[in-house]
Symmetry: C2
Amino acid sequence: MVKEPDEKTDGLPDHVGWRLWQASRAWQAEFAAAMRAAGHAWFSEARAGLLGHIPRNGTRQSALIERAATSKQAVQQLLDGLEAEGVLERLPDPRDGRGKLVRYTRKGLDALRDGDRIKLQIERSYIDRIGEQRFAALMDALRSLDAEQGDASGEAPASK
Amino acid sequence: MVKEPDEKTDGLPDHVGWRLWQASRAWQAEFAAAMRAAGHAWFSEARAGLLGHIPRNGTRQSALIERAATSKQAVQQLLDGLEAEGVLERLPDPRDGRGKLVRYTRKGLDALRDGDRIKLQIERSYIDRIGEQRFAALMDALRSLDAEQGDASGEAPASK
DNA sequence: TCCGTATGGTCAAGATACTTGACGATCTTC
DNA sequence: GAAGATCGTCAAGTATCTTGACCATACGGA
């Protein structure tokens, strides 16, 4: 199946994983650039990945750790950074003396709002590029993949 | 379009970027785990990203830098690591005294072979999960996105 | 031929993201 | 209460990527 690569068409990968990776990278780069251009200089892809797991009304830090597919220490360090930037704040959990609640500051909520706007812009440009139908099919397939997400893949490392 | 988040269904993102990111991460994690299980302990996602840009018959380091969307120094450091692991080797380019050619060692080619096998396994499991039709639509959409890749996104930083 | 400039690659230092290991504080269960 | 689990933190190390400076070679024209 791997046809003899020549100087021009060069046998670069063409499978789901590669395509997903490329598409994901392109999206992230575009989004992050737009966010920084919108004045959110603290924005990075790793931070975005974490924020994606924090609902607008906040969450418990421990709940966050379950969702994000990394160690609790990684989450904590990201949170430290975001807190230092004034995007989030951590409060003691009134219902659990050990726990902490994470929630957005006004600055964080502003960023979310801008993020929503940018997100829609990019989405529109994607639809322009590949057509509404293909775009819908893309979303449908991705959602199915996620729903059918068996187990074999990326569960949290759960640092003992 | 962003519906009011509630405690249960929790307003986690549901847009192209997020879905692509999640899907990509899941694929990478599964693939990397399988590669390491197959005995390629040196395998990492960053390295995979670079190897994806190196055709089986090798390439010039400079050509690699153009393709990979990072700085030449980042590419070099990845290459250093892969060379130290014995996956790749660098030779002087006979046609350009400044240049170097990058090519796979036997160990590297073995890894590529295993990678192809694993890749097909995962692809098959995806088809099982979401159906052949949806899978085809997914690939179609992703390819269209890539082809239509205007410009706004991730071109190489081209460290001056 | 020689000079100016561009290109290919390297070295070095620092920032970011993430990992593992150890630990203290609080909750839960019996 | 006392054992054990859970929540969060501190600390140290690794991997990846960035920026800046630098040398060697190639190329293009005067």
